[in-house]
Structure formats: structure tokens, C-alpha cells
């Protein structure tokens, strides 16, 4: 019984060489971890974190670029749309202008043509009148000369009579007109 007891308690009594070796091993392990293992891995963790952050920044920049490009394209598209509508508006107004121009020109021409025609008609009428007057005059003079003979020798009376007659004629034509 005493034998067993002494054995059991030996477990809990540290031996000198055990302490020595434990301390040596703890020192070695601690130095290894503190001086080599942790710094090495911390450096790697830091580098990785940096790289990840860098990648995130890069991704952010790419996104910003894409956003700005998209905005630019959208702006351009809007511009184009506005331009197109402007152009169509212009074209439409131009077309209406052209049409109205054509209308006015046609109207003017028509008017001109009508006036020309009227003028020519009037001049022809005048010409015809003049010709008629002279012919009628001569005809009438001849006729009257033949009829009256010498009774109407005085040229003054003759011409006065003629003028009166022609005036009457003129008045008559003016009235008919």
C-alpha cells in the first residue's frame, strides 16, 4: 500500500531533468514562434490583405470607369435623340416653308399671268379700238363725203363733226366695257 502511494505521488513531483528539458523546449518553441513563425505569417496576411484591398480599389475604379462611360454614352444618346428631333423639326418647318413658298410663288405667277393676259387683252382692245376708230373715221368720212358732196367742203366743220362722232363712239364703247 505504501509502495503504491509513493508511486502515485511521484507523478506530481517534477524532476530536475524534466524541468530542465521542459524549459529548454519551451524556450526553443517560443523563440521559433515569436521570431520566425508569427512574423512570417503576419507578413503574408498583411500582404494578402493589401492585395485584396488593392483589388477592391481596382474593381471600384473599373466600376467607376464603366459608370462614367455609360453616362457618356447615355448623354450621347440623349444628344443624338435631341438632335434627331431637332432635325426632323427643322425638316418639317423647312418643308412647310418650301410648300408655302411654292404656294406664294404659284399664286404670284398666276396673278402675273392673269394680269399679263388682262394687260394684253386691254392693249389689243385698245389697238383694235384705234384701228377701228381710224377705219371707221375714214369710212365714215368717205361715206359722208359721198353723201353730202360739196356741202361739206369746209374742213373745219368736217373735222369737228368727225370728232363729235368719235367721242360719241368712245362713250358708247366705254359704257359697254
Amino acid at each position: 500500500m505504501t509502495f503504491a502511494a509513493s508511486k502515485g505521488i511521484n507523478l506530481f513531483i517534477p524532476k530536475v531533468y524534466d524541468i530542465v528539458w521542459s524549459l529548454i523546449i519551451l524556450a526553443i518553441v517560443a523563440v521559433f514562434f515569436y521570431k520566425f513563425f508569427m512574423p512570417k505569417f503576419n507578413a503574408i496576411f498583411d500582404e494578402r490583405a493589401e492585395k485584396i484591398e488593392g483589388n477592391i480599389a481596382k474593381a471600384k475604379k473599373a466600376k467607376e470607369d464603366a459608370d462614367s462611360a455609360k453616362k457618356k454614352y447615355e448623354d450621347q444618346l440623349n444628344h443624338a435623340r435631341v438632335d434627331a428631333s431637332k432635325i426632323t423639326d427643322n425638316a418639317r418647318s423647312e418643308a412647310t416653308k418650301i410648300i408655302s413658298d411654292a404656294h406664294t410663288r404659284a399664286d404670284k405667277e398666276a396673278e402675273q399671268i392673269t394680269s399679263n393676259a388682262q394687260r394684253s387683252i386691254a392693249s389689243q382692245q385698245q389697238q383694235a379700238m384705234v384701228t377701228l376708230k381710224s377705219e371707221v373715221g375714214t369710212l365714215a368720212t368717205a361715206l359722208a363725203g359721198k353723201i353730202l358732196g360739196s356741202k361739206l367742203q369746209d374742213s373745219d366743220v368736217q373735222s369737228n363733226m368727225l370728232d363729235d362722232m368719235i367721242d360719241d363712239l368712245d362713250k358708247k364703247t366705254d359704257n359697254t366695257k
Binding site: M1, F3, A4, A5, G8, I9, L11, F12
Partner: protein, 75 residues
């Protein structure tokens, strides 16, 4: 009874003693972890603090069981 039989009986007695000594810490650990789980479920936001206090309690409770172990081997 000769001396060898007596030694055997003594060994068995200390093992039984250790078995008895584990009962208290066993109950204690059960209550400790159960309560810790309960409170963590109730308030998950303080789980870190609960865990810390739980481990302090675990250390204290386990000391009793470990004393039984040491006593069984030493005495």
C-alpha cells in the same frame, strides 16, 4: 486477508472515491454549460462575455474533479 488483497482493495477504493468525486463537478458542469447556452440563446449579443465567464466557472468547477483525481492517485 493477506497484504496483496488489501492493496487491491485500497486501489479499488480510491477509484470509487474518484467516481464519487466526479459527481459534483459533473452536475456543476452540466448546469454551467446549460445556463451558458440558455443565456446565449436569450442574448446572443453578449455571447463573448458569457463565454468568458463560463470558462472561469469551468476552471473553478473542474478544480474539484481534478482534486479528486489527484487524491485518488496520491493517497
Amino acid at each position: 486477508m493477506d497484504i496483496i488483497t488489501l492493496a487491491a482493495v485500497s486501489g479499488n477504493l480510491s477509484v470509487i472515491g474518484y467516481g464519487l468525486a466526479t459527481l459534483g463537478p459533473g452536475l456543476g458542469l452540466g448546469i454551467l454549460f446549460g445556463k451558458a447556452m440558455e443565456s446565449t440563446a436569450r442574448q446572443p449579443e453578449v455571447s463573448g462575455k458569457i463565454q468568458m465567464i463560463m470558462f472561469i466557472g469551468l476552471a473553478l468547477v473542474e478544480v474539484l474533479g481534478l482534486l479528486g483525481f489527484v487524491a485518488a492517485l496520491v493517497l
